[in-house]
């Protein structure tokens, strides 16, 4: 190989290694930082988010209207999602990252209440941990609390209909929910900052390429973890899972006890 080609390759490997080294500790699941989006885009994503949040509020209001314990349960779910996102999980490649908890939350509580809870979690992440931000709340809510949960839930329900094994549907729901969150964020960034030569698509590919280094391994380990958590829940906490079915249209009664030996 010619010297002139070796140098740029080494440089780009060095750059990626640097990105990779900077990221792991702070990778709070792809939040767009405060002030990163131009005003118009920030406002646009706020407007996109609003109908979903109103829809989520409607569904929550209906469920909790006469039950204090369900309201407390929802609030606990929000705090649970926050604590989950503050945990560090080992990534497949050996580094540590923070899970999104999107898949777990969506399967447990259904996607509509998750939009509201996710938004609350994002506000607290901004105020308490300085991850994400208030101006980018709309964009972050759209990717993490709307696209992620709906994709996760859709995949989970779809695969359950197809009679796929439960571990597979949970794994794919959590992993793909995570991946779609990060793809959405990449597109949000790309729409705001199109590449001068490649346009929006080129820019989206750039962002996806950079963030793939942390997000793909993270999505896979979060998928594995979600499956393991579900196995434990199904084995020991079936009653609790049944109560949660009030938040969703379907019921948990379908879980057969014989399926609990599935291992991740």
């Amino acid at each position: 190989m010619k010297r002139s080609t070796v140098k740029p390759i080494l440089l780009s490997i060095g750059y990626l290694a640097m990105v990779y080294l900077i990221w792991p500790d702070n990778a709070y699941a792809m939040h767009i930082m405060e002030g990163f989006l131009p005003f118009n885009w920030a406002a646009f994503w706020m407007a996109v988010m609003l109908p979903f949040v109103i829809w989520g509020m409607r569904s929550i209001r209906k469920t909790v209207s006469d039950s204090a314990s369900l309201k407390m349960l929802l609030a606990m779910a929000g705090a649970f999602a926050f604590v989950l996102s503050a945990m560090k999980i080992p990534s497949v490649t050996g580094s540590c990252s923070h899970p999104t908890g999107v898949g777990l939350g969506a399967i447990l509580f259904g996607p509509t209440p998750m939009t509201v809870l996710g938004m609350i979690v994002l506000i607290f992440q901004a105020l308490l941990l300085a991850h994400g931000g208030l101006t980018t709340l709309g964009a972050n809510t759209f990717s993490m609390a709307i696209v992620g949960p709906f994709v996760s839930y859709g995949i989970y329900k779809g695969l359950q209909k197809l009679r796929a094994p439960r571990w597979l549907s949970i794994f794919l729901a959590a992993t793909l929910g995570d991946l779609m969150t990060y793809v959405t964020t990449s597109f949000q960034l790309a729409l705001a900052f199109p590449d001068p030569s490649g346009g929006v698509w080129g820019s989206a590919l750039k962002f996806m390429g950079i963030f793939a280094f942390t997000q793909v391994p993270l999505a896979i380990s979060e998928g594995l973890l979600t499956v393991m958590v579900f196995n434990l829940l199904v084995a020991y906490s079936r009653n609790e899972l049944k109560v949660l079915s009030v938040f969703r249209a379907d019921e948990w009664q379908k879980i057969s006890p014989s399926k609990t030996e599935v291992k991740a």
């Binding site: 740029p8 390759i9 440089l11 780009s12 900077i22 990221w23 767009i32 930082m33 405060e34 002030g35 990163f36 005003f39 509020m57 929550i60 039950s67 204090a68 309201k71 407390m72 609030a75 606990m76 929000g78 705090a79 649970f80 604590v83 989950l84 945990m87 999980i89 080992p90 050996g94 509201v116 609350i120 506000i123 607290f124 901004a126 105020l127 308490l128 941990l129 300085a130 991850h131 931000g133 208030l134 101006t135 960034l189 900052f193 001068p196 030569s197 080129g202 820019s203 750039k206 950079i210 963030f211 594995l224 973890l225 393991m228 958590v229 434990l232 020991y236 906490s237 109560v243 991740a264």
Partner: protein, 254 residues
């Protein structure tokens, strides 16, 4: 538990009306976001650093450390904007060529990336000002004055309360797991984490039930009413805020 939260309760400006701090932080953030001039962004950064450190009493060193937290994301994003891939190596200030494609940065792109870097840091400093001076419960009371749905605000307040309860539980479980070598290897880590998460979920579930019983026993009918702290409303502060924002906007024309 969170450094930002600790400062929110102990800072020097805790007695100032939360609405004033909220308006100041958000208005400055908005000005920072819509200003086309980098001078304004620098002014915002300076203003918020001085307000948080000299004004509210956060140690300068801590404030700078806080500013470093979001830096990695901003840097990664900005570098991604600065560099682009093209078949045509012309127009790049510098770049690396692989076969027929070139990865490089043009001057316009670098300028844009630098501007976004500062703009984002400026907005982050406004966010920090809010978190460092105003406790979350006061932010919620401000939002109540802005007439957000009460159910949403109640959920927010409850979530805030429960976060600390669950963080405590997590820390305890985690400590006992690690004392049994639960995090000694990757396999152990996965197993311990799944047990931690599932038992955390079950604990939260039961705690929620117990809390509902306790509240019902105290005549809870769907709303937790508490007295809000009274703060003196200062017209002078609003005038100062207005003056600062106008001044920042005028800086755009220099």
């Amino acid at each position: 538990m969170f450094d930002l939260d600790t400062y929110a309760y102990t800072n020097r400006w805790i007695k100032i009306h939360p609405l004033e701090k909220f308006v100041f932080a958000l208005a400055t953030m908005l000005v920072c976001l819509i200003s086309p001039s980098v001078v304004v962004v620098w002014a915002v950064l300076l203003l918020m650093t001085v307000a948080s450190t000299k004004g509210a009493g956060t140690p300068v060193w801590h404030f700078l450390r806080f500013m470093m937290i979001p830096f990695s994301f901003i840097l990664t994003g900005v570098l991604t904007i600065a560099f682009s891939v093209s078949h045509d190596p012309g127009g790049f200030l510098f770049g690396f060529t692989f076969g027929s494609i070139t990865v490089g940065a043009s001057q316009a792109n670098l300028m844009k990336a630098g501007f976004i870097l500062f703009k984002s840091l400026g907005a982050v400093s406004c966010l920090y000002f809010l978190s460092l001076t105003t406790p979350v419960l006061e932010v919620i009371s401000v939002l109540r004055k802005l007439k957000l749905p009460s159910l949403f605000l109640e959920l927010m307040g409850l979530v805030y309360r429960f976060i600390f309860v669950l963080m405590d539980t997590t820390a305890l479980i985690r400590m006992s797991q690690s004392s049994r070598l639960g995090y000694a290897s990757a396999k152990n880590t996965f197993r311990s984490l799944s047990q931690l998460i599932s038992s955390l979920f079950v604990r939260s579930f039961h705690r929620a039930g117990e809390l509902a019983i306790a509240l019902t026993a105290r005549n809870y009918t769907g709303e937790i009413r508490t007295l809000e702290k009274e703060y003196p409303v200062s017209k002078r502060n609003y005038a100062v805020i207005l003056g600062i924002e106008l001044g920042l906007l005028l800086l755009n024309f220099t």
